[in-house]
């Protein structure tokens, strides 16, 4: 059932930094340059480009065109990915479709953002009248509401969320690209002592906006082999959904779009949760990791706490999870965030994980989350399975 004609045949990732003083263009340039160096592909072979909409350059509706010009690329297929943390995996899936359709042969999926240097996004719409007045400007308040409901329906063990934070931090210590100030170990005591920002959400449950970029080379297996590329992984399944349950004013907010798409990606590959070698879930907040473990069927709904406490999530464990530290401990490079989880999956499957290398990295499940909507969980959910 799964298609094995398209490959990710290269990746690059900049270091994550806070208030770098750099622009998304500059970071993107570094990511492209590193990608070309890593793959040996000539710049002029690139005829497809997917660019992720960044918070730092959001006022420019022609950002993707400007980026093509900045990088000296002449794409015959250009995609502007504006589904936030789903834009990287979504960009790979759209590039695959474009390649199959003959719109381009060699595509780069590029995500760069620098919101800790320059925040220029304005979500507009209903927010000033209906979301900001009660004090729900930022994601923490929305996630405080979400966690409260989860606790009400299922119960939650603080130790489980703490374990995600502590384990991911330990993984980040082995990640050269992780933000330097996060390079110190975290203990459960630190987690419990972390200040509550929006009950019951603690500071150490949250990501911090940083600057960074990542890029992926997507082409057909045939073209990749013609270009002499050796390392490649197959994105064998992808699914996404936006505004899940959107017309249900009384939707259960503990059920996200992942509940709808998990069956799709497993169905396309014939894999089950037991077959997944590593999990690289989008981690803007620790609770998102827990809810995804449930909604992809690693455990039953409501059993996320016990599953986490019973499972070694490190790179040597039973379910290696966010082996590079995730966004929570490597830093969230704005809306280039989804590419951070994807880059770690590709890196591991290329056998380039270094001190944190997962043994027999035959596949990975990577996810994305895009935007926090009004009184729900998240706007877009995306999932991709990579196979060797």
């Amino acid at each position: 059932m799964s298609k094995r004609d398209i490959v990710i045949a290269g990746y690059s990732e900049t270091r994550i930094d806070f208030k770098s003083g750099r622009s998304a263009y500059d970071l993107a340039g570094e990511a492209l340059s590193d990608l070309l160096t890593a793959t040996g592909v000539e710049k002029d072979r690139i005829d497809g480009l997917s660019v992720t909409a960044p918070l730092s350059e959001a006022p420019n509706p022609f950002y993707a065109v400007y980026m093509s010009e900045a990088l000296g690329l002449t794409p015959t297929w250009l995609n502007f990915g504006a589904i936030g943390g789903c834009s990287a995996t979504g960009g790979v899936a759209r590039a695959a479709a474009a390649i199959r359709d003959g719109a381009c042969e060699v595509a780069v999926v590029l995500s760069a953002d620098a919101p800790s240097t320059s925040w220029r996004a304005n979500y507009g719409a209903y927010r000033s009248e209906f979301q900001d007045p009660p004090g729900v400007q930022g994601p923490p308040a929305s996630f405080g509401l979400l966690i409260s409901r989860y606790i009400h329906q299922y119960g939650l063990k603080d130790a489980a969320l703490g374990k995600i934070a502590v384990t991911q931090r330990a993984q980040a210590l082995m990640n050269d690209n992780a933000y330097s100030k996060f390079k110190k170990p975290l203990t459960m005591e630190d987690y419990y002592a972390s200040r509550v920002v929006s009950d019951p959400l603690r500071l150490l449950d949250c990501v911090m906006f940083c600057d960074g970029a990542n890029a992926f080379l997507v082409t057909s297996e045939k073209t990749a082999r013609e270009m002499g590329l050796q390392k490649m992984v197959y994105p064998t399944a992808f699914a996404e959904v936006t505004n899940f349950n959107g017309a249900d004013m009384l939707a259960d907010v503990t059920e996200s779009g992942f509940a709808k798409i998990s069956g799709t990606v497993f169905g396309k590959t014939g894999l089950t949760p037991k077959d997944i070698r590593m999990f690289q879930p989008y981690d803007d907040f620790t609770i998102a990791v827990l809810m995804q473990l449930e909604q992809f069927g690693f455990c039953k709904r409501g059993e996320g706490s016990d599953f986490i406490l019973d499972t070694d999530l490190s790179h040597t464990g039973g379910l290696p999870t966010n082996t590079g530290g995730g966004q929570i401990s490597a830093g969230q490079p704005g809306l280039a965030s989804g590419g951070l989880n994807l880059a770690e999956a590709v890196r591991q499957m290329f056998g380039e994980g270094g001190a944190r290398q997962v043994r027999e990295p035959k596949n990975a499940l990577v996810t994305g989350i895009g935007v926090i909507p009004y009184a729900r969980n998240w706007g877009t959910s995306a999932a991709m399975i990579l196979e060797a």
Partner: protein, 155 residues
């Protein structure tokens, strides 16, 4: 991490530092005038789909149930139950001088939810399942904005 730094700085400000909570501009993305006019009369007004008989909130350009403009504004009772709740403890625009700020997703008896503040309520008093009734908070210029009180505290 940076948030924590900002928080302690803001926390050190004297209590008298003036709150800046300007009333938002209505009608910026769809016609919301009935909501604001209703608030001035002490009513909570919401969009009602005339084809499905259901309320929706926040206001949209179409009925999310039909995709068509089968909409009118109706008053809702303002009686409901706390569906989810949190207390905002970090500073940000519009919350200065209001922290800790109790926030809830309120499920109205009409079958629709909204995010609102729970007034006159200590954070530990707020709980999912508690009944609430309509109340009004005010922006700097006196413009009323729908909020709630715990039903037990209302009288």
């Amino acid at each position: 991490m940076s948030e924590a730094k900002t928080a302690s700085a803001a926390g050190a400000k004297p209590e008298s530092s003036k709150p800046t909570r300007p009333a938002p501009k209505p009608n910026v993305y769809v016609d919301t005038q009935p909501f604001w006019d209703g608030a001035r009369e002490g009513k909570l007004m919401m969009q009602y789909c005339t084809e499905t008989g259901r309320f929706q909130h926040y206001p949209r350009p179409v009925s999310v149930f039909t995709g068509k403009r089968t909409l009118e504004w109706r008053e809702v009772s303002g009686n409901g139950t706390i569906y989810a709740c949190t207390t905002v403890r970090i500073p940000g625009p519009g919350v200065e001088g209001r922290l800790p700020l109790p926030v809830a997703t309120v499920e109205l008896d009409e079958g629709v939810r909204l995010i609102a503040n729970i007034l006159g309520c200590a954070p530990e008093e707020m709980a999912i399942g508690k009944r609430v009734t309509l109340a009004f908070d005010h922006f700097d210029d006196g413009t009323p904005y729908p909020a709630f009180r715990l039903a037990d505290n209302a009288r």
